[in-house]
């Protein structure tokens, strides 16, 4: 049997997904603003950690950042309502991705997921059913779309879960139940299940179930027989992790995203809740007749995207050493909540005038979140050293050398030296090559 991406299918799942995604993003943006994070993340810190290749991205001033977030909010609302949809999706993608690129400190896999989905949505006809755009211009309404439009969301979700699951297949996670053996005892005040949290057996059970859940959930969701139970487990899994860890709106995003796996009929029923005029049964009348050329282009682009998605997480194999320790090839690979890692980084700045080494007080330059993230990630350590050099030289303090004594603990191990404490960080530059100044984890 051949997969036919152009075969027509009901638009309902796509419309529901659009509404749900728009709603989550609207709430997420509002939450971000109300928590005062625009100030804390973007405008208060003295330094920002740039993404490799995006060094030119800088935050705007406070008013500017509020305008960006207002635009983000409005465009998320636009996605939800299906109003000026393509422009809304594009604006949302641009504003969201811009804010994410400002500071590496706040990198989260689910923000990466949101950026990808937002970009994909720009090219999906998700507004052609149950939307303000259809109300304004009924002629654009369709009942069906080519099936790749739905499957692209499913496939992206499958990539996220499966890679998150594969990442859990490692000695620490399965055999030592780390880091859950560290994290769970701190959760003993949870209602109902709090009492079992300090037990080792609980950590083992959670580790194994978590791995099996992530690896297989997509398959259970795809099979109509197992789907209702699978979805119940989705809800339980994400609500539980949402209660235990500070992971923001991520649980809600996944709970709503996985609805995409439900049947067309299910989505039709959901849509009728919003719009009584939606036909109870799909009429399969007006197929969205994408120009063949357009669809081909989209499919080719998506093929490239998913090839990247499938290959990129394996790049860590090209680097020597322990991935969790060096973090070379760690990001953008759906490695979520995999390890407990923390560091203390002391930077020594040598004054070219006196030759004396001064000790940097990190809290004078970084907020707590930035300092914590910097202290165990080599590229951030390097960037910080360069920013310090620029800052001191700007203050007319000539810098001869900057070195850092960094101690890192991984999964409860005794902390040990992380990088060569004598290497002059100002003489090193970030690139794709192996950072040979990272000391090995093994003693």
């Amino acid at each position: 049997m051949q997969y036919r991406p152009l075969q027509q299918t009901d638009i309902a799942p796509l419309a529901v997904f659009r509404i749900a995604f728009g709603l989550m993003m609207t709430l997420g943006t509002l939450r971000f603003m109300l928590l005062g994070w625009i100030e804390e993340h973007y405008t208060t810190p003295l330094f920002h950690f740039h993404y490799y290749g995006f060094e030119f991205i800088e935050p705007l001033n406070l008013a500017g950042m509020y305008v960006v977030h207002a635009l983000m909010f409005a465009s998320a609302l636009g996605i939800m309502l299906g109003a000026f949809y393509r422009w809304s999706a594009l604006t949302f993608f641009l504003t969201f991705t811009y804010t994410e690129l400002i500071d590496l400190t706040y990198y989260l896999n689910h923000y990466y997921f949101v950026s990808i989905v937002a970009l994909v949505m720009v090219f999906l006809p998700a507004h052609r059913c149950c939307s303000v755009d259809v109300k304004r211009n009924p002629s654009i309404a369709v009942d069906t779309v080519p099936r790749w439009c739905i499957d692209v969301i499913k496939l992206q979700t499958a990539v996220v879960y499966t890679y998150a699951g594969i990442a859990k297949i490692n000695y620490e996670w399965l055999i030592e139940a780390l880091p859950l053996r560290i994290w769970l005892p701190a959760q003993d005040t949870l209602p109902l299940i709090g009492k079992i949290m300090p037990y080792q057996a609980t950590a083992y059970a959670f580790s194994w179930i978590g791995m099996l859940y992530d690896c297989t959930i997509v398959w259970w969701l795809m099979n109509s027989k197992t789907r209702p139970w699978a979805y119940v487990s989705v809800i339980i899994f994400h609500v539980l992790t949402g209660m235990m860890f500070q992971i923001g709106i991520f649980p809600m995003v996944m709970i709503t995203t996985t609805l995409i796996f439900f049947s067309n009929g299910f989505h039709r029923k959901l849509l009728r809740f919003f719009d009584k005029k939606i036909a109870p049964v799909c009429a399969y009348e007006k197929a969205l007749s994408y120009a063949q050329q357009k669809s081909r282009l989209a499919i080719a682009a998506l093929a490239a995207h998913f090839t990247f998605q499938i290959i990129f997480p394996w790049r860590f194999m090209l680097y020597p050493g322990k991935l969790f320790w060096t973090e070379q090839g760690y990001r953008f690979s759906w490695r979520v909540m995999l390890m407990e890692k923390a560091g203390t980084a002391t930077f020594y700045v040598q004054d070219a005038r006196t030759g004396k080494e001064g000790i940097v007080v990190n809290s004078e330059f970084l907020n707590q979140h930035q300092e914590k993230q910097m202290a165990f990630q080599p590229d951030m350590i390097l960037q910080y050293a360069h920013q310090l050099k620029a800052w001191y030289e700007n203050k007319n303090i000539p810098v001869k050398k900057i070195r850092a004594e960094v101690y890192v603990t991984l999964n409860g191990s005794r902390s040990r030296l992380y990088i060569d404490p004598n290497v002059d960080l100002t003489q090193l530059y970030d690139n794709w090559q192996n950072k040979n100044w990272i000391l090995p984890f093994e003693k």
Partner: protein
């Protein structure tokens, strides 16, 4: 797609669940007794009760009492400005400030920042004193403290007024000025009022402090831990590091930036402050009552035992250096004389940082820094 269907159809759900359970059982029984994790967990409520009832509230009470006495002695000195009364006031200042070191790390709840007021530790413990600005407020008879110049009031401004250049005759002469008398009394009064109000607020706050027994950002354990760490870093960075000239860009030491520059009590107060900070780790208060602290908490965590051993070793290194310096030694002079004891103290404090900082929070799984932003 077809292939997937096939696989799924052939897949026996029951068999799968059974084998899963067997695997789980094997894993769990195979690993349970291998490591020293404490399956009973750690009762944070007991720890919080101990801190509230035996450490924090008694410290606030004694400090409030001693600052009230300080205020009375200063009143008395102002009415009878002779050398004996000055000395009594000076001694009482030392006593009160010594006790302030024991409430200093508890900069949350009633002692946290509130509106325009900074934390109690900052409001009353800012140093070095801005002498020019202080003299200016005195001369303009401004005792309202309606400004943000915290370096013109609090314990250390009072210290400047009471100890001056170290010559009591000069101090007595300066106190012939009515404006100076008023200012000194106002400063002492503000110290007393602020500490008293924090003390009484703690009586109500104590209940919610104990009840908030989680580990997330904003929980009592995370507040306690964060302020413990900040207080330790205050000693390292500002009481010792900065006056020693340890910062990048400092071309020479700045001994005039030590705490207690005028009373020469810097070393003694550092010792008390460090004792208070490590007391939090130990779960030990002023009266010596040792109960559940972070040490006991750590002993139940993965890797905790090893961390306790390393921490205690390094703390004893710090204490060795500290006890090699005389209580009454003048820290600013030691710095000026390029004393190796000071550089040793800097080194040993620096080495302690990681044990208190990343190692401890990581092992305990406390939400330390994610007060802003999410994790994943």
């Amino acid at each position: 797609m077809y292939l997937c269907r096939l696989v799924l159809n052939r897949f026996n759900m029951k068999k799968f669940t059974h084998s899963l359970l067997v695997i789980l059982l094997l894993v769990v029984t195979g690993c349970t007794d291998k490591t020293p994790d404490n399956d009973n967990g750690f009762d944070r409520t007991v720890m919080l009760q101990h801190f509230s009832g035996n450490i924090i509230q008694p410290a606030f009470r004694v400090c409030a009492e001693e600052t009230e006495t300080l205020k009375q002695f200063i009143e008395f000195f102002i009415q009878n400005p002779d050398e004996i009364n000055l000395k009594i006031a000076q001694e009482q200042w030392k006593r009160a400030f010594e006790l302030f070191q024991y409430i200093r790390p508890f900069t949350f709840g009633p002692a946290a920042e509130q509106g325009v007021n900074k934390s109690l530790a900052e409001e009353l413990g800012t140093f070095p004193v801005n002498v020019t600005a202080t003299e200016n407020y005195i001369n303009t008879n401004d005792t309202l403290f309606n400004n943000f110049a915290r370096d013109t009031r609090g314990f250390l401004a009072l210290e400047y007024l009471l100890f001056g250049n170290g010559n009591n005759t000069d101090v007595l002469n300066s106190f012939t000025d009515l404006k100076r008398k008023r200012y000194a009394l106002a400063v002492a009064n503000q110290i007393f009022l602020k500490i008293r109000s924090a003390r009484y607020d703690w009586q109500a706050y104590g209940l919610s402090f104990v009840a908030n027994n989680g580990t997330d950002a904003g929980s009592s354990v995370s507040l306690l831990y964060n302020e413990f760490l900040k207080s330790y870093e205050l000693i390292k960075n500002y009481k010792v590091g900065l006056p020693s000239g340890n910062r990048p860009g400092q071309t020479q030491p700045e001994p005039q930036k030590v705490e207690c520059y005028y009373s020469k009590q810097s070393v003694y107060m550092i010792k008390r402050h460090f004792e208070a900070v490590h007391g939090i780790w130990l779960g030990k208060g002023l009266n010596g009552a040792d109960g559940a602290g972070f040490k006991e908490y750590l002993s139940t965590a993965v890797g905790g035992i090893e961390l306790i051993a390393e921490t205690e070793k390094q703390v004893s290194n710090v204490n060795t250096v500290l006890s090699s310096i005389d209580d009454n030694a003048d820290l600013s002079q030691l710095i000026n004389a390029n004393s190796t004891k000071v550089s040793d103290l800097n080194t040993e404090l620096q080495k302690l940082t990681r044990y208190y900082k990343s190692d401890m929070s990581s092992v305990l799984g406390i939400a330390i820094t994610y007060t802003s932003g999410d994790g994943d």
